[in-house]
């Protein structure tokens, strides 16, 4: 990829994209394909597809300590370690060093992120679901926060476009609140999951249904990009996929942007301010600090896309102060940095499925089951104790050692037990919607600067009453379904809810809305009072839904980029 700065007059481009993750990659691709000379700025290092996936083929014995996270890693990444999986030695190099990149917590907030080309599109969970009008109309119906300025029909064609390009596998169910998608062939359920699927359909009369997860993996054929081919079922996705089987910016959108000849990609470029010109009421460019040399640069463009992630884009806007916008660019409403949402999870139930000891699986499926939302959809699904809903992920798998291991102290029988697969366990893990709340916010601490002299982010956000009420039902219904299937050792759990962030779905800090007085962005993701700045990462989310959000970020980004390109051509 073109890694060097193209010498353009006055560093002038048609478009600037800040960030290279799920959203930035799509902005880059669409803007470049529309013929715009586009500068793509990434604060982290370069990661080249395949070449820089240095751990992609390592087995546990190729890593020290069987791949256990060492204290040395934890000392540098104590916050990133809070997930329990991001600091695994095979993938920790894709997550930030907390010592180098500090943030502050008035309330605990688990901010998991990676600073490199591709961003979290390299390490994402890949579950890909659409929002529906149940989601887009929810705030209006409930009188909560503000109404989305769009409806499903506005976004539907963009979901189609994105899915056809990236490749999403799964099964359509024809549910109004859980829209059908452009899907590649579904991955298989295993035999225990098929049993659970049948039992759930048989024993519940509220239309709840179990299906295979819809995941951004190629399951048949190929897709455009750098040699993208079908999934090999190794389940080492977060290390980067050498087969390009799951969607990432690195394998797909950035190569497409590069192929146009219109993209200039500049890694190690920390954007900290959008420059506003009061005479034109437009932004003129961005200020950048080189992460390595600390040199400062100004780059100019006709249109600027902030795709730096919900927290980082809000942070850039809060730093972009001018006479017109003393509280940050686009912050007339006072909502910038507010209404942080994440999905609340780590609640559900587990069980043991008996009678399948002679069954096992081939392959490691990088995907699980999905039970779409079945609460608050009208009729017998409506709940008094909470609004909105949740879905379940999880699935069934065999433990990797016999349960006899616990009953033996030593000898050949112990060896035999550790080499045999154990019992089938089933896990239903719920992901719930979080209501937007003005009190949940992030702001900048000017007294605590990072090594580039930039203010650090402080979080002050927590889950609320609606989430905690919902969690009771999330656990109870998981138990009910596992019990209805006849499984043993059904046990509920609730290990979360104490802090936001672990869903790694932080969103909402520059919400869309119809009224500039109560929202930051309009229906095209433009800042109301500075329309050549678009924010198309999770910051725009007006409500959270309970679905994994990346697909929605991609669809809105593609739509906004085409809107921007059309405007530029019109004014040319």
């Amino acid at each position: 990829m073109n890694n060097k700065m193209a010498k353009t007059e006055d560093n002038l481009f048609d478009a600037i994209v800040v960030g290279t993750g799920i959203s930035g990659g799509w902005a880059a691709k669409e803007l470049c394909e529309q013929g715009l000379k586009t500068l793509v700025l990434e604060r982290g290092r370069m990661v080249k597809h395949i070449e820089d996936y240095t751990t992609a083929h390592l087995d546990p014995w190729d890593l020290p300590n069987g791949g256990e996270t060492t204290q040395e890693i934890i000392d540098r990444k104590p916050k990133q370690h809070r997930t329990g999986y991001t600091t695994h030695p095979a993938r920790e190099h894709f997550f930030v060093d907390d010592v180098k990149h500090p943030y502050n917590e008035e309330k605990r907030f688990d901010w998991m992120r990676g600073y490199h080309v591709g961003g979290r599109s390299l390490m994402w969970g890949r579950q890909s679901y659409r929002l529906s009008d149940v989601d887009f109309e929810a705030n209006k119906k409930d009188g909560i926060a503000v109404d989305w300025p769009v409806r499903y029909k506005d976004i539907e064609p963009w979901y189609d476009k994105v899915e056809e390009y990236i490749g999403v596998s799964g099964q359509n169910l024809g549910l109004k609140h859980f829209p059908d998608q452009k899907l590649l062939k579904p991955m298989d359920l295993n035999c225990v999951e098929e049993h659970l699927q049948n039992k759930i359909s048989e024993k519940f009369d509220d239309n709840r249904v179990l299906t295979i997860g819809r995941t951004a993996h190629i399951t048949e054929g190929t897709k455009e990009g750098l040699g993208r081919s079908t999934c090999q079922y190794r389940s080492r996705c977060m290390r980067g996929c050498p087969y390009g089987a799951y969607f990432s910016s690195n394998s797909s959108t950035l190569p497409a942007a590069d192929a146009t000849g219109n993209m200039t990609l500049r890694p190690n470029s920390i954007v900290h301010e959008v420059i506003y010109d009061d005479s034109t009421k437009q932004a003129t460019g961005v200020r950048v600090i080189d992460a390595e040399t600390k040199e400062t640069h100004i780059y100019k463009a006709k249109v600027i896309f902030l795709c730096a992630s919900s927290i980082a884009s809000a942070s850039i806007l809060l730093q972009s102060k001018s006479e017109r916008f003393p509280n940050g660019l686009g912050n007339d409403s006072g909502e910038l940095g507010h209404n942080i949402m994440d999905h609340h999870f780590h609640v559900g139930a587990t069980a043991t499925a008996k009678g399948y000891d002679d069954k096992y699986v081939k392959g490691r499926r990088p995907n699980g089951i999905y039970i779409p939302r079945f609460r608050n959809l009208g009729g017998n699904t409506d709940m008094k104790s909470f609004k909105r809903g949740y879905g379940y992920q999880g699935g069934a798998s065999r433990e990797d050692a016999s349960e006899l291991v616990a009953e033996l102290k030593y000898g050949p029988k112990l060896t035999e037990a550790i080499l045999k697969p154990g019992e089938w366990s089933v896990n239903l893990l719920a992901f719930g919607e979080t209501l937007p709340d003005h009190n949940n916010k992030m702001y900048l601490d000017e007294s605590k600067k990072d090594e580039w002299g930039l203010p650090t982010v402080t979080f002050d956000a927590a889950f609320g009453e609606n989430e905690f009420e919902m969690r009771k039902d999330m656990q109870a219904q998981a138990k009910k379904m596992l019990e209805a299937a006849g499984y043993k050792n059904v046990e509920g759990y609730d290990n979360g809810g104490e802090a936001m962030g672990l869903g790694i779905h932080e969103m909402g800090t520059a919400r869309m809305g119809r009224d500039p007085k109560t929202s930051v962005l309009n229906k095209h993701n433009q800042i109301h009072a500075c329309t050549n700045v678009y924010v198309t990462d999770g910051a725009f989310m007006t409500s959270s839904g309970c679905q994994n959000p990346s697909l929605t970020y991609m669809a809105f980004t593609a739509r906004a980029a085409n809107h921007a390109a059309k405007n530029i051509k019109k004014n040319a």
């Binding site: 992609a56 002679d358 699986v361 050692a401 060896t415």
Partner: protein, 199 residues
Amino acid sequence: MKRRDALKNIGLAAGFAAITPSIFSMLQSCTSNTETWVPNYLTSDEKTIVTKLADIMIPKTATTPSASEVNVPQFIDNYILEVLETKDQEITRAAFNKIITLLKRDTESNIDDVTLEQYKSLLDEHMFLSKEVDPEREANPEALSMTSSELLNQLKWMTIYGYKNSEEVGENILAYDPVPAAYYCGDLQELTGGKSYSL
């Protein structure tokens, strides 16, 4: 070298390109000799105990190597050093001292004189499984220190973990399937001959 051959067989050429020279040198590094290796963390007595216990827990059989043959003691030594927090290292060391005392009932004795039978008795008498009562813990439920039984159980867990994550067991004893290329449910015997997968 076997490991290198296995990697050569992995799927697409594109995937192979991700293997860097530094990883090759790591894969080629030799395993150290069981008798002569110098621990990074364990004391000489602790090394002896870990080695003996690991081989009692997982002895050599006609078809499977012993724990020490796949370098489990070295694994445990490094694991305690690099993975455990400092305070857990201290707790572990203190518990080792209890075990050393139990084994060297006669304080004059040398740890090398402790017989296999004495090690087995230690496990029979002082290691309690999860469903059993550990009297040392029962006497002091809140103590932050580790009981003898808790250390023996920890060593058992580390022995199993090190054994299963060794190259020999992972590639040749367990079912090794680095690039499955498919996912489906099937018959256990047909898929793996009754073995668990290593990955």
